[in-house]
């Protein structure tokens, strides 16, 4: 399996604060990787370096290299918009645009130049199908996305991310604001999506990491303590700090 993401000697500073320390991590393509760790450990910061969301935070300084499909993403010749098309992101709170369901999905493809109505229809349907939302909304595509339930809105956001055909989908606590049934639907969806996409998720829910991911990375104080097969990490971690954290004995 190819490593689609290669992180080498990565250090990130928010002004004086050293938020990520010497991160070396490879993520194979078409897998689900979970980042776990206590608040402030750097897991979300690392996730955001993967589509340069940290660029928007002033005072951020990055050293080292992040490569996606072999190319550095912090080079001067990199178009951030193009990068974010390849590396989609879903956030903790569903954030649909105040537009119709259809227009939410068509937004990205239109931005990238797709004008043909038939083609757009196809993309919208395919994206909603992949996000397991098509059957629930196919007859209401003109309705406001804001009329959907929280769980549906989150799947809509996933569909919106998929509409521009990314390679990687980043999920930043994407189910923490959802009820258990919606959470389960998204977890099942993630299992299907990994056939086509590489998924990296940050989760505070360790049992979700255990259920959903193939690999888990444990972060502490801006460092990667342990990265391993999820089954190994949760059944027989190598590092005592990992064991303490996953057993709920951290502190």
């Amino acid at each position: 399996m190819e490593n689609i993401i290669e992180i080498e000697d990565l250090n990130l500073y928010y002004d004086q604060f050293h938020a990520l320390k010497n991160i070396n991590l490879d993520i194979p393509e078409k897998t689900v990787t979970a980042f776990i760790g206590p608040s402030g450990c750097g897991k979300s910061t690392l996730l955001r370096t993967l589509n340069r969301m940290n660029d928007m935070i002033t005072g951020t300084r990055i050293e080292g290299s992040v490569k996606i499909s072999g190319s550095g993403i912090y080079g001067k010749d990199v178009f951030v918009e193009e990068l974010r098309k390849r590396v989609g992101m879903v956030f903790q709170q569903p954030n649909p645009f105040p537009k119709s369901i259809y227009d939410n999905i068509a937004y990205g493809p239109r931005l990238h130049g797709v004008k043909n109505k038939k083609k757009l229809d196809e993309i919208v349907e395919e994206s909603l199908r992949q996000a397991a939302l098509w059957e629930e909304v196919k007859d209401y595509q003109k309705r406001s996305a804001l009329s959907l339930s929280g769980g549906q809105q989150q799947r809509l956001c996933i569909a919106r991310a998929l509409a521009v055909e990314p390679d990687i989908l980043l999920m930043d606590e994407a189910t923490s604001a959802l009820d258990p049934i919606s959470t389960l639907k998204i977890e099942e969806l993630v299992q299907e999506l990994k056939e086509k996409y590489t998924i990296v998720m940050v989760t505070h829910n360790m049992h979700q990491a255990a259920r959903v991911s193939g690999r888990t990375v444990f972060f502490l104080n801006g460092e990667v303590v342990e990265a391993d097969e999820t089954n190994t990490l949760f059944s027989n971690p190598r590092d005592a700090r990992t064991e303490d954290y996953i057993s709920g004995r951290f502190g």
């Binding site: 049992h207 255990a210 949760f234 059944s235 027989n236 996953i246 057993s247 709920g248 004995r249 502190g251």
Partner: protein
């Protein structure tokens, strides 16, 4: 390290139940072999009656362990502690049944005289009792060296068992009237040898608890 009060208390309870089960098995084996040596049927009956307690303790371990899995969602070593408690309690319960079988042999021989004074069977039983104690200690202290040492004890038990078989086959050949009792005594040897195997299983569980890997000490 933060203590998880309910989980830790219940894990401690699992440990103490296993210790109690271990003590019970040692007493049962000791009592059963003593009853056989002196053909003391009253003693044998006591052993048989006491077995129900062991079964109850196994059930209690199953109940506590499954409740912990459901309510506390343990992982890593916490989970292994529970899995190991299930496995060890099942081994101990089986060991109790085998001790009970030895006691039943005493009842079968009621009114008879032993064809020979029992020497090797009590000796085998002494080694097995030590093995049970070692097994429980290796689990309690998470002492893998002790667990591996038990494999050597088990070899000694196997050797004695084979000696018993040879001797009893001799009796059967030379004195066909002794056949039913000799056959019964070979079974007793077999029961005690099996108790030893279960003790090494417990040693394996101790190694699994510590390392997450399963060795085979029964080779």
């Amino acid at each position: 390290m933060i203590r998880r009060k309910e989980l830790d208390n219940d894990l401690e309870q699992l440990r103490s139940l296993l210790v109690k089960m271990g003590e019970h098995v040692v007493e049962a084996l000791d009592g059963a072999v003593t009853s056989l040596k002196s053909l003391d049927c009253v003693k044998a009956q006591e052993i048989i009656h006491a077995d129900a307690k062991l079964n109850l303790m196994e059930e209690e371990i199953m109940d506590i362990g499954s409740r912990l899995i459901v309510t506390q969602q343990p992982v890593a070593k916490d989970l292994r502690r529970i899995l190991v408690a299930f496995k060890i309690s099942s081994d101990l319960e089986r060991m109790g049944d085998l001790a009970l079988d030895v006691a039943k042999a005493t009842l079968r021989l009621q009114g008879e005289k032993l064809i020979k004074p029992l020497i090797d069977i009590p000796q085998m039983s002494s080694i097995v009792k030590v093995m049970i104690e070692e097994a429980i200690t290796s689990y309690l202290d998470e002492n893998t060296d002790l667990a591996y040492k038990m494999a050597q004890d088990d070899d000694q038990v196997d050797q004695l068992y084979s000696q018993i078989l040879t001797e009893l086959y001799g009796h059967m050949r030379n004195n066909p009237d002794s056949l039913p009792q000799a056959l019964l005594l070979t079974l007793v040897g077999r029961y005690i040898e099996r108790i030893g195997d279960h003790a090494t299983n417990i040693g394996e569980s101790a190694v699994y608890l510590v390392t997450g890997k399963r060795p085979d000490l029964n080779q």
